[in-house]
């Protein structure tokens, strides 16, 4: 699909879809829903105490 081509991971896809659903709620429910934390995760690889790579799980491109 187009989001995969743009480098968006499935994890991020679910987060964007969930955020959109939260914002579509009636205003009173929206406030409570938007307080819920949507996590962003990164993986860092260390070698001899130094960071050698960081991968953002929101993206399938490694930085």
């Amino acid at each position: 699909s187009s989001w995969q081509k743009a480098g968006i991971s499935f994890n991020k896809y679910l987060a964007i879809a969930a955020r959109t659903v939260q914002r579509s709620l009636k205003n009173d429910l929206k406030v409570a829903a938007e307080k819920r934390y949507i996590s962003d995760a990164k993986v860092q690889k260390l070698e001899k105490g130094n960071v050698v790579s960081t991968t953002d799980l929101a993206s399938n491109k490694s930085a």
């Binding site: 743009a6 480098g7 879809a17 659903v21 709620l25 205003n27």
Partner: protein, 138 residues
Amino acid sequence: AEAVNPDVLKVSLVAPHQAIFTNKEVSQVNLPASSGEMGVLANHVPTVEELAPGVVEVIESSGTASKYFVSGGFASILPGSKLSISTVEAHPLDAFSSENIKSLLAEAQKNASSADETVAAEAAIEIEVLEALQAAVH
């Protein structure tokens, strides 16, 4: 031990923040599988389906149906007539504001033509969700 009746479907609908149903006994559940709409009855073949943003319809044995909009996730159909639906957000249809959906859709459609590939791709996901919501709420 719990008495097991394999001819009754037991459904669980869970989000990280809330369990809407836990092993609720129902007669049928309709799922927005990404491969297409599917109806699940008792004694279904075990399988895992990816869910698209859409409506999960739970039909009780009395015939009463309740509808929940889910943001996407997975449905696991387990042996012994168990169905487990995992999603991030799930809300009854009357929890949504058609005005909010409309204004978000207008904004997403504007961003869909952005030159920034990531912005455009995010907007395309939003449009997918919002169009499904609009169809469900009306």
